[in-house]
Symmetry: C2
Amino acid sequence: MWTTLVYFLLVVSCAVSKTEYENVLDERNDFIQRELDMMLGNDITLSDNELKANEIIMDLKCKELDFGFQSPHIFNLSKHFFEYKDAVKESALYKIIQKMPKGAILHAHDTGLLSPDYVLNITYMENLYVCFEEDTMQLLFSDNIPKESCGTKWQLMHDARYSSVDVEEFDAELRKYFTIVIDDPHEIYTDINVVWSRFQQYFITTGSMFSYKPVWEQYFYDTLKAVREDNIMYMEIRSVLPPLYDLNGKVYDSVETAESYKITVDRFVKDYPDFYGAKLIYAPLRMVDASTVKQYIKTAKKIKKKMPDFLAGFDLVGQEDLGVPTKEFLLELVHAKDDLDYFFHAGETNWNGMSSDENMYDAIALGTKRIGHAFALTKHPYLMEEVKRRGIALEVNVLSNTVLKLVGDMRNHPLASFLARDLPVVLSSDDPGVWEADPLSHDFFVTFLGVASRHADLKLLKKLALNSLYYSTVKDKDKVVHEFEIRWTKFIDSLVKDKW
Amino acid sequence: MWTTLVYFLLVVSCAVSKTEYENVLDERNDFIQRELDMMLGNDITLSDNELKANEIIMDLKCKELDFGFQSPHIFNLSKHFFEYKDAVKESALYKIIQKMPKGAILHAHDTGLLSPDYVLNITYMENLYVCFEEDTMQLLFSDNIPKESCGTKWQLMHDARYSSVDVEEFDAELRKYFTIVIDDPHEIYTDINVVWSRFQQYFITTGSMFSYKPVWEQYFYDTLKAVREDNIMYMEIRSVLPPLYDLNGKVYDSVETAESYKITVDRFVKDYPDFYGAKLIYAPLRMVDASTVKQYIKTAKKIKKKMPDFLAGFDLVGQEDLGVPTKEFLLELVHAKDDLDYFFHAGETNWNGMSSDENMYDAIALGTKRIGHAFALTKHPYLMEEVKRRGIALEVNVLSNTVLKLVGDMRNHPLASFLARDLPVVLSSDDPGVWEADPLSHDFFVTFLGVASRHADLKLLKKLALNSLYYSTVKDKDKVVHEFEIRWTKFIDSLVKDKW
Ligand SMILES: [Zn+2]
Ligand SMILES: [Zn+2]
């Protein structure tokens, strides 16, 4: 009887202790499961084939992560983007993501999408004049020596190039104007203003070359081509709509520039009927006064009247910290809010409680359909919930944010919080050509490997692609999504059959 | 009649339009107010005198911020801490924060609190031997030439110093072992492992010097002194409790080391009765196996039995990414959880979904009273709510996180999100001596100016100080808080009277 009692006591004590351990273990696992269920993409159910594809993808992802966890000093994504942008393209995971249908690209600007090599190529066109000045240059298409002021002298690019000592060297020097990629970003780009100034210099230098009407249209045509080749099916382009010119001396106003865009899209879709077109977000510079914004709005309304299906909406651009706060234009923007859809840049800053940060309040109060960046949103718990309630998509551009010095280590990007909370995120790329990234693949790759949780899988990738269509203003959305699903299935099939 | 109608229409149209503008403006301001109300410190009501003090403080803060917003390249807090740590001490805002009663310091380690100059001074003590080896050195107190192995030769520090060509130069070289501050952190500390290795080297090199019992006690006594001089009234010290030794060859075990701490605290409180003492969190190294953790727990229980009022609880330390995940010790820790209070380090990482990140799940499931760092918490929306529900304080050490390379720009520190959501935050400093910071003032200053919202004011500062007492395990908490209030009022009065 004693032994029975002792045995009984032992069992009870073990059982109690085991239960306590199990309780803690259960709670721990419950926490994990709850958070997995909260993540962006949690509502996607993968098919059998998708599950197989997911295994392939997750195997590649986890290998890279586990390696990086052990050796952070050689983990690509903890370095500067300029250091790893080319190397990652060779990875199997990148190639899969490149092949993957990515839906739409919704946040990209003007002439910021193509590579410096492409831009260099444009300088081989006839009638391009150049004026080299100290550290800068002017470019202009003309059938005569330009009358625009030049500190040195205007010469044909052709003449400058072939009278140079070394054409290759000449082109290499020229190419530097068409990229912000440099060897030593940590030393040169010491703060946000330095890199922004170099970034804006790109647009200033190339502006008068790109606004030559034939080049403008060709650049956009080739942008759509690059976008399509990156397995994107639809685009919304933000543009300042600069006045265009031709060799006859005709200058085209913003409405005509918009038309020029539209004509190009139509031509492109005719050539590539598998592409679902593009829309325009008129996004002029924000460093202006209220009366200029009033003019902007007039222009936007004119465009809308002329091309109601082409104009998606309105935005303001430029470095937010240095720009005029949105609240300065609140009256003008309120008046137009029933006529125009807004897609404001807001919170592209790491300041907390300053005007650039508070632009998010105005954007949401003004009924913005999406927010460009919203980098500062994690510091605004109420707005985070509001964005979710109202279904305001966040157009996140992770590479832009790191290249333009908002965040150093990708793993600290606020997108990680957005994804964990299932906020309505769409990935985009801002100006990928300027930092020599692919239209969307690099941003998807870095998000998947360097920002999202280790547990985030194919569901996240699919959801991000679907979101980009869902939160777009594409015509016949259902049809486009249906077509996306067909392409997605094909992609999955070929991945599983190891055909990538 | 016509004119009346026209007038009426005009008024109506203006009124409607004004209302719409007002609606947007109201909503915008409502967003701002809601978020102000959500912030940490929102529940504090300032007295008239506090309101006056707040004006002084906010004037200084806003001036610095507005300057930085315009000139980010010369804004101190966007630079590396090593660059601005001394400069900021001259600012009026820093001096106020230094004077301010800050409550308790709850997350600080062993011999990581005093400056390299203090440590250098210890090397002037008698009986200290040194063995210089390639890039490293060993230090040991002994009344004879040490028998411990040495790649070169053991010599008295006194002899080495005064036989050197230049004593000043000798000391300057020696001092480098006692700090991780260097001129070019961006170039040398290229990733987290490099800086952690240097950081740990400090503890390895100084370990056998500090564990000489008289030095150990003196170091802790002087730590308490420095803490008190930084206007802190109570401390919880984490320690690995190394074996101590004396010149008689006696070696003291961890329990005796704990006693040595307690004796020192008692002596200090006798000398400075305005200080409210210190407690111990036994925090041995985490890079061990489960059976070692079992031993740790035994030791902790012994200490608790011997000094129930002195031991606050248990923790594990070391670089989390490279350490063993908490879940490996889950069984051992569950068994002891009713006997020991836990104060786990967790989520001191920028990896997402890796073991170091998931340590937070275990810490919370194990009923931790506070979490050390929780740097990764913003990526865990469910845990964020759970921490708030359960009142688990987050011990945030912003400078540690930037110096040890988790985050570059202070403005991206997740603490900004914690403050915005009123999570139970306490500020601490981890190992401030190793990066030459004051015990708490630098961390408070940087948080207030570089992390918190521009709108965060004296309410935040007061709440952070109060939290450090509220979430402590100090004896007679009400009495201590009452004493804090008295000191706080004095501080406010002298600030308003411009006596600081
Ligand atoms: Zn943009
Ligand atoms: Zn610590």
